[in-house]
Amino acid sequence: MIYLQIAANGLVLGGLYACIAVGFSLVWGVLNVINILHGTFIVLGSYIAYFAYVHAGIHPFVSVVLAGAALYLLGHAIQAGFINRVIAAPVLITLTLTFGLDLILNNAMLVAFTADYRSINLARPLGSVEIGPVFLPGDRVAAMALALLLTVLLYRLLRDSRIGRAIVAVRMDREAAALMGVDVKRINAITFAIGALMAGAAGALLSIIFPISPLNSATFLGKAFVVCVLGGLGSVPGAMVGGLVLGMVESFGSYWMGPEHAVTISFALLLVLLFVRPSGLLGRRGYE
């Protein structure tokens, strides 16, 4: 019976992981840039939700829009100002650049907000839902549901809108897309901005679940990495699958081997996958 609870924990956790990773996966798959800033974007989204709640009483789920919009603008600016200049450069350069930018943004947040952990305590907390022997935490389930909604919206955007199709075209073959008249530079900027938007939105959703501090950004980034390699790059369904698998692996792994091994297990899984099937479970190969 306890396995039901463990599985439930894993699913809920997995949904959160998918939410964390989908923006990161998009940027990596389309621009071939590993955005080290992703974790920090998420934390920034959380802070926006926190301050909106504390000073204006805005519910964090509503702040998703606020945080998303703010991060979209920030992401666009960073891409146009910095990342665009090295877009065709080797991995070393782009990775180092985003690492350096992340140091700056994270430090700025530390100075502005201090490292003190902040929490949002909702006036009307969502409590727990008991289904038989299984407890489902209300806030996590609600966040997961909203995250799912957002990812479905993103998926539809990519499938149905012109911009979305242009993004997918660039992801599949940059040169061919350019030949077909797609303004690749503009698409790059928009994709990065969308990635940032998803990160900000995720941050707002997560703000009621995790304590908020710039110190969490590395943890979020680490999870995003693993989810992407698990699920494949640039693919929204991939991020979902990867997230769910990671959530389950961590939940059951923690149960069988002890919680202190949870992190090792996920990294070991990552290494095995890189060795065996680097394109991920859903098989979308990234750039080499």
Binding site: T96, L103, V263
Partner: protein, 307 residues
């Protein structure tokens, strides 16, 4: 050759540093040597072969813990250092078998993950490694000044050795082969270069001296814990140093290590709360405006000379 003379002169000059009588200066110099070793080692796999490795932190920590564990079992210190270096090399060869077939981002991530995994393994085997509580090393029964000098000379010797190996490699067949791999690995393969063997050699080289540096560091500070020796910054800084000095050059890493340490000292003394951002600014400026490093800049300034 010119290089050997230059190296010998540099080594002699630095060896005279203790005469200045300042223990703190010696400490800084020891760190510069350590950084130089890490940067030069990274240059083998990152600069010559073009594989962006973030495994430096893994090798450093691996060497530190290997030596610390051995010393706590009674193994003499210098012997422990040697074993740490060899063990790191073997470890790199082993891991290389698993990840060197990856390219670009995937290789970068995989190499980064190794450090995280090692850190967790250390955390969860406290009986062997002290786990989260850290590990103590035996203190040398020497005066403070004597200790400072001893560890300075140890790091200096390691740095000189590493430089010497770099000079040999860069001008030899391995260096040439690695540069071919960086240009176009498939073509190199077709031309008969054993890319697998060469890459593994470069990766192992990037580990052996770093492992020893980790071991010397552990003995120097007498206490190590996982977040310190597996710190991700230890993986990023060698990269920055090599970029600063000049990717794939022999002296670039050494120059980069001096520059970076100087910046760090300046920032730590004057820009307390924003030191991380300051490093970030250096990185961004470096990547955007100076991707070929200081050496290329100087070369342009002062005209072309031989390599």
């Amino acid at each position: 050759m010119r290089h050997w003379i230059a190296l010998a002169i540099l080594a002699l000059l630095l060896a005279a540093l203790p005469l200045a009588g300042n223990n703190y200066l010696l400490r800084l110099a020891t760190i510069v040597c350590m950084y130089a070793v890490m940067a030069q080692s990274w240059n083998f796999i990152g600069g010559l072969a073009g594989y962006p490795s973030f495994a430096t932190a893994a090798f450093f920590g691996f060497g530190a813990y290997t030596s610390a564990i051995l010393q706590n079992q009674g193994v003499p210190m210098i012997f422990g250092w040697g074993v740490a270096g060899l063990a790191s090399m073997a470890f790199a060869a082993l891991i290389g078998g698993a990840i060197l077939h990856l390219r670009g981002h995937y290789f970068a991530i995989a190499s980064l993950i190794i450090a995280e995994m090692l850190r967790e393994i250390v955390n969860t085997t406290p009986d062997l490694t002290g786990g989260g509580m850290g590990l103590n090393l035996p203190i040398l029964r020497l005066s403070v000044t004597a200790q400072a000098q001893f560890f300075f000379y140890a790091m200096l010797a390691l740095a000189v050795l590493c430089m010497a190996v770099a000079i040999v490699i860069h001008h030899g067949k391995l260096g040439f082969g690695l540069r071919c791999i960086q240009q176009n690995e498939d073509a190199a393969n077709m031309l008969g270069v054993n890319t697998y063997a060469y890459k593994t050699a470069a990766f192992s080289l990037s580990a052996v001296f770093v492992g020893m540096a980790g071991a010397i560091y552990a003995s120097w500070v007498n206490y190590i814990e996982p977040p310190d020796v597996f710190d991700v910054l230890l993986a990023v800084k060698p990269l920055v140093m090599v970029l600063l000095g000049g990717l794939g050059t022999v002296y670039g890493p050494a120059i980069g290590s001096v520059i970076l340490l100087s910046f760090e000292e300046f920032v730590w003394r004057n820009l307390l709360t924003i030191h991380a951002a300051a490093l970030g600014v250096i990185i961004v400026v470096l990547v955007l405006f100076l991707p070929n490093g200081i050496l290329a800049l100087l070369r342009e300034r002062f005209g072309r000379r031989g390599a």
